[in-house]
Amino acid sequence: MLRRASGLLARPILAARARPFSTDLPAAQTADATFVEAWKKVIPNMDPPKTPLSFMQPRPPTPSSIPSKLTVNFVLPYASELATKEVDMVIVPATTGQMGILPGHVATIAELKPGVLSVHEGSDVTKYFISSGFVFIHANSFADIIAVEAMPLDQIDASLVQKGLADFTQKLSSATTDLEKAEGQIGIDVHSALNSALTG
């Protein structure tokens, strides 16, 4: 009997996922109504288990007028640097250049290159160096910045950066295969970005 219940568990969740993807989803319901009904038909005596939907916070809807603050989630694989922090603007190092994100920015997905992320809140500016990652800007003025490594600029050692830059310039000039050249080029890019972060 319980095996049929797990079959039931699979089907309504698949049906819920068939919703067409849109950047402008309405606020999602917190309990899966079809699943609960189907469960009650088969097992009326037990309480239905919670589905992943009930654990998720519904996405805040897109307001009709542009909000005054941008809500930023800045996460790393091992820590959450900023969680739903309300700020005025963030500037991210996208591959297409420094991108400023203000409240009301159009929904965008941007890949990040090694560079400086600055968070502007009133007159405070907090800067982080990001190794690489992505930024997802949603239509409701929420920005999710995900990075593999990020740290405040004062944790970076300038002499190690110079040494790295020299090492990789040398490595690139002595590289033979495509892969070695690519690695050399990556090293140069990262270290020059670190350098301009420290001096700029």
Binding site: S132, E149, D157, A182, I186
Partner: protein
Amino acid sequence: MASNGAVPFWRAAGMTYITYSNICANLVRNCLKEPYKTEALTREKVHFSISKWTEGKPEKPTIRSDSPEE
């Protein structure tokens, strides 16, 4: 946005995004100042423990360390 023709140099050299991103992260970690650097180096290691199951019982788990990709 870049068209499909203009791939990034690392992809043209046969590297995947994950490898590129991990290399960038390792290089940045190596440029940290001292107390932060030792913490960061512990983050770099990825290891997982595998245990094979035979006849419904797990055997002794082995710990495998993922060495950084070339």
